[in-house]
């Protein structure tokens, strides 16, 4: 380590240094990220009776994060993302049913199966844009839902799959009744995949995804094969969603038909809007806000909680476009500006 140099005003950074700093700044660890993961760890200790909720927040967060890669980074809209969550969940459930009870390989296989499904779909999807693209994803989501609904023999139809047995992790840590193993397993898996997603968005590929989002017309004119990038983005997002579904199946030891539900696709969109699109951490913060609010509001009034979710969404879209993360950033900028003035 070299000594820390304290920059004086006379040594303002050169423009070239500023160029490099753009990339360092974009990929920096934001304090919201540190805060979220610390809070996740602390909440496990502080709220031992809410471990199931914490694990579900993390899983929904991972699902929303995979959706953010598509929508927030690449600008590819989708209303059928739950298909991949469900494919992952059923894959993990059926594997365990068939005797493959080792959890980690189960997750990997579920991720690969969902990724392959994403790749196949992306061949069609990558030819489309706009409303046609949204309609296709919506249709595909419904297709998988109804397919699972009618294939009773395999999926259990309405009843789903239950009583799934999962072997202890590394053969040593069994899934206990209180959910200790489940929540720590979920935390570790989601955190590792968060690091992977972070790495991807800060790669040249990630930059091209932002380019596609910012101006899809220019991208081919600078040499980027658009269809290929769509396909890779779709495959990666599908695969991450599949792992999220598999996690839920494994820790709840059930797979419900609702894992394929349209509501889940819509929730991903709502969560990313609330949290802040194109930030990754916004998906996790948004999932926490959404699910905790759902939990509280459903306690108050189990029928009308969706009213409050709807109201929250409208307010966010009208007044806080960047979601929670964007709002916090603006607040901080305001505070900093005030302090500089004083």
């Amino acid at each position: 380590m070299t000594a820390i140099e304290i920059p004086s005003p006379a040594q303002a950074p050169t423009t070239q240094e500023r160029a490099h700093r753009v990339f360092a700044f974009t990929s920096r660890w934001r304090w919201e990220e540190v805060a979220f993961w610390l809070a996740a760890v602390i909440s496990i200790v502080v709220f031992p009776t809410h471990l199931v909720l914490i694990a579900q927040v993390l899983i929904t967060g991972l699902f929303a994060l995979s959706f953010d890669l598509l929508v927030g980074y690449a600008g590819i809209p989708s209303l059928g993302h739950a298909a991949f969550f469900g494919i992952g969940a059923y894959t993990a459930g059926l594997l365990a049913r068939g005797g493959w009870t080792e959890p980690i390989s189960g997750l990997i296989i579920a991720g690969i199966v969902a990724g392959i499904a994403g790749l196949i779909l992306s061949v069609v999807v990558s030819r489309l844009t706009g409303i046609a693209l949204i309609m296709i994803t919506l249709g595909v989501g419904q297709f998988f839902y109804e397919a699972a609904h009618s294939a009773r023999g395999i999926t259990g139809g309405d009843d789903g799959l239950s009583g799934i047995n999962i072997a202890p992790i590394f053969g040593r840590f069994p899934f206990d009744f209180y959910g200790h193993t489940a929540v720590i397993y979920t935390l570790v898996v989601v955190f590792l995949l968060y690091l992977v997603a972070r790495r991807i968005v800060n790669s040249p590929f990630g930059l091209e995804l932002k380019g596609i989002r910012e101006n899809v017309r220019r991208v081919p004119a600078i040499g980027v094969p658009l269809r290929n990038r769509y396909m890779v983005a779709f495959t990666v997002a599908a695969s991450l969603a599949g792992v999220a579904g598999a996690l839920l199946g494994q820790i709840t030891q059930t797979v419900a038909l609702s894992s394929l539900d349209f509501n889940r696709s819509a929730a991903a969109l709502i969560i990313v809007m609330i949290g802040g699109m194109g930030t990754l951490i916004g998906a996790l913060v948004g999932a926490a806000a959404y699910m905790v609010a759902q939990d509280r509001l459903a306690d108050l009034n189990p029928v009308y909680w969706n009213f409050w979710v709807g109201l929250m969404l409208v307010l966010f879209v009208l007044f806080a476009r960047g979601g929670l993360i964007g709002g916090v950033d603006r607040l901080l900028a305001w505070v900093r500006a005030k302090r500089n003035k004083a």
Binding site: R18, A24, I200, S203, P204, L207, E208, A221, G223
Partner: protein
């Protein structure tokens, strides 16, 4: 016609939109390093020709040849990798990206690392330095870390060219590079264009006849989708038909 000395050639190139024949049998060659202007009244098919050559539109018939190789069947992005790049008449930029990000994206793509999901962009110092170098050439170094949407319009026009140059083209298609820039401020853009490396062949559309006659070594006049005539600026200026159809209108306007 299209000998090995030509960077770009089109052979009997036609483009129809339904019954409308926008380009008719365009035979055109662009030698290496040439500065070639494409002029013509509005609606004569200039931008369509750029779109067809660049690959944004498929021709109805005919061939496009880049350095002796038929590229008609290639997509726009494949043409870029072979050395054919274009700019847009209306800014087609990345509003929320900074110029250094946008140009680094092009550099990474050209270097073949654009598809890399695992490489750290922050540590790709060579690519960033190369992008910075290009921005410096285009007088954009000072603005390199500001979001594109915040740049003045003239700066955005320069970034249009920077993005195309970052692909290290052999043939550069400029669609009205100074469009919309007030005449007092267009000097910087013209300076940039005139100091482009000699080995790049440039085909540019321009409405300002003064500019065309200052920079072009050769001029093609397009009227109603057809090449009316082609020649040196002096020849074009002397051509009675051009004067009547094109330059004459300008005088009266």
């Amino acid at each position: 016609m299209n000998g090995p000395g030509d960077a770009l050639a089109t052979v009997e190139l036609c483009k129809n939109f339904g019954a409308l024949r926008v380009l008719r049998e365009i035979n055109f060659t662009l030698p290496h390093g040439c500065r070639h202007a494409l002029i013509g009244p509005n609606g004569s098919g200039k931008t369509t020709l750029i779109n067809v050559i660049g690959g944004a539109l498929a021709p109805t018939s005919g061939k496009i040849v880049l350095e002796g190789e038929d590229i008609t069947a290639l997509t726009a992005d494949q043409r870029v990798l072979r050395g054919l790049t274009r700019t847009f008449q209306i800014n087609t930029l990345f509003p929320r990206l900074t110029p250094i990000e946008a140009v680094t994206m092009v550099v990474c793509q050209r270097r073949g690392i654009g598809a890399s999901l695992w490489r750290s962009l922050k540590h790709s110092h060579d690519a960033i330095d190369e992008a910075y170098e290009i921005l410096t050439q285009l007088h954009l170094a000072e603005d390199c870390d500001r979001p594109t949407a915040q740049l003045a319009y003239g700066r955005q026009r320069l970034l249009e060219i920077a993005l195309a140059l970052a692909a290290r083209p052999k043939v550069l298609l400029l669609d009205e590079p100074a469009a919309g820039v007030p005449q007092q401020q267009s000097g910087e853009i013209l300076h940039v264009i005139s100091s482009l490396p000699d080995d790049i062949a440039v085909l540019f559309i321009e409405h300002d006849i003064d500019l065309v006659f200052r920079f072009a070594e050769r001029i093609t006049v397009l009227v109603a989708g057809r090449i009316l005539c082609e020649g040196t600026p002096a020849e074009i200026a002397a051509d009675p038909e051009v004067r009547r159809i094109y330059l004459g209108d300008e005088v009266h306007a």
